[in-house]
Amino acid sequence: MKNVSPLKKTLLYFFLFVGVIVSVFPFYWMFVGATNPSGEIFKVPPNFFPGTHGWENFKNLNENVGIIRVMGNSLLITLTFTALAAIICTAAGYAFAKFQFKGRNQIFFMLLVAIMIPYHVTLIPLFEIFSNVGWLNTFQAVILPQAAYPFAIFLMRQNMQAIPDSLLEAARVDGAGEFHIFFRIVLPVMRPALAAVGIFLFMFQWNNFIWPLVVLQSQDMYTLPVALSSLVGMSRIDYGQVMMGTTLSTLPIMIFFLLLQKQFISGILGGSVKE
């Protein structure tokens, strides 16, 4: 950056500035909406400053859909799902990438096909299965169906292929068991991929809508998207509540991303093996 001319630098900052405004403004506007009464959002000229109605909106929202309980549900479901799915998908991806077994390619092919089946096709059969088991309106009904998430398995398999066989062989020669190898050697090396898949799985379940909507029956079991959706009625929408709800549902994603961001940057495969 030392040799960049002032003009170029000004231009650079100008475009960066515009970029930041464009990407940050919607969030800011959401925050403004969340802290103002519903009518303010449509006013001309618009009110560009956060108001003092935030607590009121929050109280209404909690009265209306029990937002605290709902956020708890969403967090519990999403974190359990992410942990469970990450383990299953990583293990499955590892098996597909590094083990030789009969029918491996056929099974993997079927997995790829499964990615392409539209969700609505499986919706009703899946619903019948869970209702026959008597698991309607339970959290496990939300968590389990996608715990072996085909796309995440695919992603992990592709990443696992980068692990040199010699590394695994070296471990075996040293007398490590297969689980030891998986937990002690493969997982640490896979941290960046795991973080990426983790964020992906977290986002998927956090935003998951149709399935929880269909399978959860009572308001105290709802997840955030389902509860927020119930705020939108025929003709009357309290936009203050909606904005407050959206703000609350965006925050955890931001926090989760910031926590794992380091993993993206610092995780490097190199260094674990010298060839």
């Binding site: 519903s38 030891h180 399978v215 939108v232 025929m234």
Partner: protein, 439 residues
Amino acid sequence: MKSWWKMFLVVGLVAGVLAACSGNSGNGGDESSGDEGGEPSGEITVWGWNVAAESMELAVDGFKEQYPDVEVKVEDIGRLDVYEKLTVGLASGGNGLPDVVMVESDRLANYYDQFPDALTNLSELGYDDHKDKFGEYKQSVTQNADGEFFAAPWDVGPTGVFYRTDIFEEAGVNPEDIKTWDDYIEAGKTIKEKTGTQMVPIDIAKDDALYRMMLNQQGAYYYDEEGNIDVTSEESKKAFEVIQQLENEELVLNNDGWNGVVSATVNGEVATVPFGVWYSGTIKDQAPDQDGQWGVFQLPAFEEGGNRAANLGGSDLVIPSSTDNQGAAYAFVEYFTTEVDPQMKALKEKGIFPSLNSAYEEEFFSQESEYFSNQQIYKLFSEEVADIPVANYTADYARAFDTMSDTQASILLDGTKIEDALQNAAEKLKSETGREVTE
């Protein structure tokens, strides 16, 4: 070996967490026990959305005075979400459905045609006794071809033109002089000239509400009474001619979606908004400071002295056959739709307009509404209900709705000739639904 134990530990932990989450696993009134023959008892679950669900909540206390042994649990679910859940539940043979569901009138036929045995026949339970308490329009949408009720009529959406009194005054236009759509267009031109305000907001590409109101007003709809495609009718042409003329005179404000229409209403970008009675609640909610600046008149007629009544929106209650407490479910439906008290609570507190005729005799209907320039708006709407023509929505309502919104866009935005556009729409609907097109 050690690593095996770790694996077990992980699996065990996960299973433990899952087991912990499974509290409260009751689905839609499974625990309830309907008393055969005797007084209804047990618990019922009811699905509705937003203000409609809140209205049912308001009715629970009064209901329990008559039926103290019945517990009512109202689930507030998003409007379109109700349909998603209802479709899945009906498709899987009634699994996970509640005891009572609210469905919009124009969607009812869709469910009844697809799953005729999945909805309880209310006439067999005695609902016919209440038949005369509702207008002809409301009866027709809740009855099957044999005149039996498969749904109980609840709210109705008589239409009107909401207008800004201050803008009309500024332009020197008297709303009482607007009797036909031609008058409406003339008034629009004057208002545009004097104040620069446009006349009507339309979400051109996605919602044909104005067209539907005009069809219904003329006694027509997407389909005729036999269920044949009727979009090429004289009434349909007339409706689009008016809408096209509005567009040609640049009186239409093209809005994007519901929020766009609301925003235009609140910001004074339009002088009038033709909609169902329920829009009065939206205006009051979103523009509380425009107190006294709004009024209502009935839809203009197509010819002097013609019909000015139409319906937009409204909903009804159905009882899925899968209910295990039919007695209590019916008791609630009967109470909620045929007693005056719950109607008045829903109207006063949630702005939902009843279809029960006896409710209109309440003193509340003759009250002047302060917000609407001291007009007796509820009286105006209630007197309109009896004149609403019957409409045959059919099971293919949603298809026609999409097709006609597209048609509206092609006429207004691409300048397609009305006859051609309607012909295309009819062909498209014919191939999609297999229905005949009327001559």
